[in-house]
């Protein structure tokens, strides 16, 4: 199966990359002094120029090593490329925030479903055909003017994959996980949310088998919108609790029937 990054695979092998491969062989922490991922996460400013150019970048050593691992495991027959392709399609396309958005839009427009969703999230989702591993138990918590909810897993990175797909990198970072457990209001400010002291903040630490998803408040200016139109404005971060959906002005978005 061609790897999406294959065209950028370089011809040579850098010292860093060799160090990374060796690290797994027990070379220890020293071999990782050069960060295999920093290259890939380095930013360049988007403020100073328009982007007509290709955004391809040099893949990190970790990316190259992961691709090599994939090649070797497929070569040995340990991984069936068809199985890998099926999972990549499932996690890369089939599941994602668009699934959670359907749930939210329905809850906004169907009070009976909304009540079921908040009472028994797992069964309500399965009634829509949504679920699977890691949402065998899920609770939906509703934001309101008096209570703001957000989700974390401080012990690893538990996340409701079947409704939100795979988490963004910040959700899994030690920075988010460590700081949201002591200063959720400070973390929310970094996401552009300032809450008054009177608003209760609930941090859901999903460290057992239950998963959590936030039901954001329906923004003003969406009165009369269809479920399909509402789905378009529900974001992943709003369902983690790190975004409050902005009021809408103007006409409802056009969506395919």
């Amino acid at each position: 199966m061609p790897h999406p990054d294959d065209k950028s695979r370089p011809a040579g092998l850098s010292i860093d990359r060799r160090g990374f491969v060796a690290a797994g062989a027990g070379a220890g922490a020293g071999a990782l002094a050069t960060s295999p991922v920093k290259a890939q996460t380095s930013r360049h400013s988007h403020d100073d120029h328009n982007h007509a150019h290709d955004h391809s970048h040099v893949p990190s050593d970790a990316a190259l090593t992961a691709m090599a691992l994939e090649s070797v495991l497929i070569g040995k027959g340990i991984i069936d490329p068809a199985a890998l392709a099926a999972l990549v399609e499932h996690y890369g396309r089939d599941v994602g925030p668009h699934i959670g958005a359907k749930v939210v839009a329905r809850a906004w427009t169907d009070p009976e479903f909304c009540a079921e969703l908040l009472e028994n999230g797992t069964d309500a989702l399965w009634s829509m055909g949504i679920g699977g591993v890691l949402t065998s138990m899920i609770k939906i918590v509703a934001n309101s003017p008096t209570d703001h909810h957000l989700v974390v897993c401080t012990l690893c990175s538990c996340y409701p994959w079947p409704v939100l797909g795979l988490p963004p990198s910040w959700y899994k970072s030690p920075e988010y996980r460590s700081r949201v457990a002591v200063d959720p209001r400070g973390v929310l400010k970094e996401f552009g949310i300032e809450l008054s002291d009177d608003v209760k903040v609930h941090v859901w630490d999903s460290i057992a088998d239950q998963r959590y998803m936030v039901l954001p408040e329906r923004p003003a200016g969406t009165e009369g919108w269809s479920i399909e139109q509402l789905e378009t404005i529900v974001t992943r971060n709003a369902m983690i609790g790190t975004e409050i959906l902005a009021p809408q002005s103007g006409t409802a978005p056009e969506v395919q029937a």
Binding site: T65, W170, E175, H202
Partner: protein, 229 residues
């Protein structure tokens, strides 16, 4: 130390990738999908060289320098390579050699191993709703109980994070029977027991640095809790 138990450590001064909000990279998506296929092969082949529990243990035992600076999938990659090298399933030489070869060429030479997870098995595994464990021990607590988390500092895995140990909160939900995943048994009550959502307020957890209107809703098992008073 368990470098995964990070709550309250205030690592970093700001979040990485916000507001960039980087999406998952293709190689990370592939890692996410390869990992269960490797576990599946390990189990089906009866070689049992790697399990999710092995990976978790090695992630918890990493040095802080790596744990707090490397990306999630880079850490998993290190652990997987280390484990597979140690088990003799792979060699560093094979990985190095593969850096020069197009994946298609290797795939063309691949031969099916019966223990490899099939596409059908892979998809079934992600779409299956896990059954809840059978009730094995009656609930020792109920909604509304004020409970204190026991003091502990174990070697090995626990789902009782450091920031709530010794702290007092109120049970707001009974989640039913759960598996106790701790490396060490905590009581004679067995491995299946009730879990609860316990609500702690910011001042209880963090004193003068806590906020009176912050609430930390933490899911904890019976063995971790004692009734106050």
């Amino acid at each position: 130390m368990n470098v995964q138990d990070v709550a309250g450590l205030r690592i970093g001064s700001t979040l990485p990738n916000v507001p960039d909000d980087r999406e998952i990279e293709p190689w990370e998506l592939h890692m996410h999908c390869m990992e269960p296929l490797i576990w599946g092969y390990s189990s089906k082949s009866k070689k049992d060289f790697i399990t999710p529990i092995d990976i978790r243990k090695k992630l918890e035992e990493m040095t802080p320098a790596i744990a707090f600076s490397e990306g999630y999938w880079a850490k998993h990659l290190i652990v997987i390579l280390e484990t597979m090298y140690a088990a003799g399933i792979l060699t560093p030489r094979e990985i190095e050699a593969a850096l020069y070869v197009k994946p298609e060429r290797i795939a063309a030479q691949s031969r099916a191993v019966p223990a490899a997870v099939t596409a059908e098995e892979a998809i079934r595994s992600v779409k299956t709703r896990w059954p809840r464990p059978e009730e094995a021990a009656p609930a020792r607590h109920k909604v509304g109980d004020v409970v204190t988390v026991i003091a502990m500092n174990p070697v090995g895995h626990t789902r009782c994070p450091g920031y709530v140990r010794g702290k007092t909160g109120t049970i707001t939900d009974d989640l039913g029977p759960h598996h106790l995943p701790d490396a060490r048994p905590l009581s004679e009550r067995g491995r299946v027991q009730h879990a609860y959502t316990v609500s702690f307020d910011g001042v209880e957890l963090w004193g003068v640095d806590g906020h009176r209107n912050d609430f930390f809703e933490v899911d904890l098992l019976d063995d971790y809790l004692t009734c106050k008073g």
